[in-house]
């Protein structure tokens, strides 16, 4: 009896979180997929349910036959949606690259810092990650707006004579994204660069490599797993980003997260927003799978 009880308890380690994730993470996706195939309606909730569980298998089959691709057809016809998808992916791509450009030297400098200083530097990178995302984006409004601090400073330094319009443009969105997601890029890079064996560089220089050559031949190829992890951690969530484009972007900054949000809350068209979400998920499936694989590999290497 006791052994059975122990078995149940140790198995509960698996099934408790498993069950929670099945209900609250996986099942909702089924709901989204289902709703994306039904018709909008003026009611609360604003759609005609297809497929209700109470009907039994025969009823389900009848419902499945009522599924329509109307919402998907609508998305392909209205250029707003595919322009949003394209521009989200493009913005995510560019800002991932910018974050790598800024994050790599930072992580590299941290990894080569005196050993005693490193924990402090690491904590300084993690600290902004703990402070609210919304607040950090909000802080940029005061800096970037027309009478904001950046323009005041540039006018004072006589760099410009007319205040620049940065807030509510795509430039401001890039600034906000790179700023907010920089720690996600720096942390995996630092973890990788700090572990690297520096004697390899000494060997390279003994064999006549310049420092630049040694960097590109040794440090960079060895750091690729970190680069990859950092890029995924930035790219994937940025594609669906909502807060940054809606606070810093202009009316012409199209990002799919914002389009979906507006479709849902302003137009109250739940079926179309579900279809938008399904397509966004399909776009992200490949990078998410690649991310999972690289994570699994690095865990195996660690253990």
């Amino acid at each position: 009896m006791k052994a059975v009880w122990n078995g149940v308890v140790s198995r509960s380690v698996i099934w408790l979180p498993y069950l929670w994730l099945l209900i609250f993470f996986l099942a909702p996706f089924v709901m989204v997929a289902k709703l994306s195939l039904s018709e909008p309606a003026i009611s609360i909730p604003p759609y005609n349910p297809v497929l209700t569980l109470a009907e039994g298998p025969a009823g389900w089959w009848a419902d499945i036959k009522r599924f329509s691709l109307e919402n998907y057809v609508f998305i392909t016809q209205d250029s707003l949606y595919w322009r949003s998808y394209l521009s989200s992916v493009w913005i995510a791509f560019v800002s991932t690259f910018l974050a790598l450009l800024i994050g790599y030297p930072l992580a590299y400098g941290m990894a080569r810092a005196p050993r005693t200083l490193r924990p402090l530097l690491l904590m300084l990178v993690i600290l902004p990650f703990w402070t609210s995302f919304l607040i950090r984006v909000y802080a940029w409004i005061g800096i970037l707006k027309k009478e904001g601090l950046l323009n005041q400073f540039l006018l004072w330094a006589h760099v410009i004579t007319e205040p620049l319009t940065i807030l509510n443009t795509t430039t401001a969105v890039y600034v906000g994204i790179v700023y907010s997601y920089l720690p996600f890029m720096v942390l995996p890079l630092y973890a990788n660069l700090e572990r690297q064996d520096l004697t390899l560089l000494e060997a390279a220089s003994d064999l006549g490599c310049t420092r630049t050559q040694a960097f590109w031949k040794i440090t960079w190829p060895l750091s690729l797993p970190g680069v990859l992890a950092g890029c995924f951690l930035v790219f994937i969530p940025v594609v669906g980003e909502f807060v940054i484009p809606s606070l810093l972007g202009g009316a012409d900054t199209l990002m799919i997260g914002r389009t979906l949000f507006d479709e849902f809350f302003l137009n109250r068209d739940w079926p179309v927003s579900s279809a938008v979400a399904v397509i966004l998920l399909l776009i992200l499936v490949v990078p998410i799978m690649l991310f999972q694989r690289s994570e699994a590999r690095s865990r195996e290497a660690a253990s």
């Binding site: 909730p45 400098g109 703990w130 720690p183 669906g240 606070l247």
Partner: protein, 272 residues
């Protein structure tokens, strides 16, 4: 020669940290500004803090947020630790691939998708939206962060300790509470803090899943920010940043002390 911290390294570190910290510092400085115009300095004042505390809607939103964060972080820590244990201990079980997928996917899942899909689930289950639905939504995504933090600690864990406890006749539960848990406690605590701040911070998922009377602080801040920047919001943000920063600093200093004490004890043990 390669080991030296070159001027280039120093510059990139200093520039990187300036970029990360100047915006927050400016936000904090201007929360003490006398003027209503956020960007024109007119002398030191704390009147916006008084205004923020007098704003009933803000204060009640702060209470809602705190309640949600406390409950969801605690539940997420329990579920997330269990998930981490499951992944670390049971290397083969039916559906492990799906399970690990579900643990790692929420880390990168765009919030709009998580928010929308959970809302549709609640509607389909006929659950009224309110503070409870926000809590459940927050548990779901933050438990995965807890799982990852705890799992990284479990990966470096010496298995033989727990096996020794089992050999000596401890039940698996007893072995967990007296051997494994004390070792992974720092990671569990870090996971709780992470879950707490994630919940404190979340706008999008709360927006989808909250109902009337359950406006969280980020939702309130967001709707005010859309109308324009006010020093009052700066003051609220400064309080939040201060709270979280001091929490993180205190926790890491305590953990560091603990580590130092343990290292000393180990050294003594090795000598004795």
């Amino acid at each position: 020669m390669n080991r030296a911290w070159s001027p280039f390294n120093v510059t990139s570190v200093v520039a990187g940290f300036a970029f990360l910290y100047i915006p927050i510092l400016l936000l904090i400085i201007y929360s003490f500004n006398e003027s209503k115009l956020v960007t024109v300095w007119a002398g030191f004042s704390v009147k916006w803090y008084a205004a923020a505390f007098a704003n009933e809607a803000l204060v009640s939103a702060a209470w809602v947020t705190l309640r949600v964060a406390l409950v969801s972080a605690t539940a997420a820590t329990i579920l997330g630790t269990l998930a981490a244990l499951a992944l670390a201990k049971f290397t083969r079980f039916r559906g492990r691939f799906l399970f690990s997928g579900m643990v790692y996917a929420p880390l990168v899942m765009p919030e709009v998708i998580t928010g929308l899909s959970l809302l549709l689930l609640f509607v389909a289950m006929n659950v009224d939206r309110g503070i409870e639905t926000v809590i459940m939504a927050h548990i779901t995504f933050s438990m995965c962060f807890v799982a990852v933090v705890v799992q990284s600690r479990l990966a470096g864990l010496d298995r033989s300790l727990e096996e020794a406890a089992l050999d000596l006749g401890a039940t698996p539960i007893r072995a967990f509470f007296s051997v494994t848990l004390p070792i992974i406690a720092p990671a569990v605590l870090a996971g709780w803090m992470l879950a707490f701040t994630l919940s404190l911070d979340d706008l999008v998922i709360a927006q989808f899943n909250s109902g009337p009377g359950a406006t969280t602080l980020p939702m309130k801040i967001f709707s005010q920010v859309r109308l324009g920047v006010t020093p009052e919001i700066n003051a609220v943000c400064t309080i939040l940043v201060g709270l979280v920063a001091s929490g993180v600093i205190i926790a890491s200093v305590t953990m560091k002390r603990r580590d130092v004490r343990r290292m000393r004890a180990e050294q003594l043990a090795a000598r004795g």
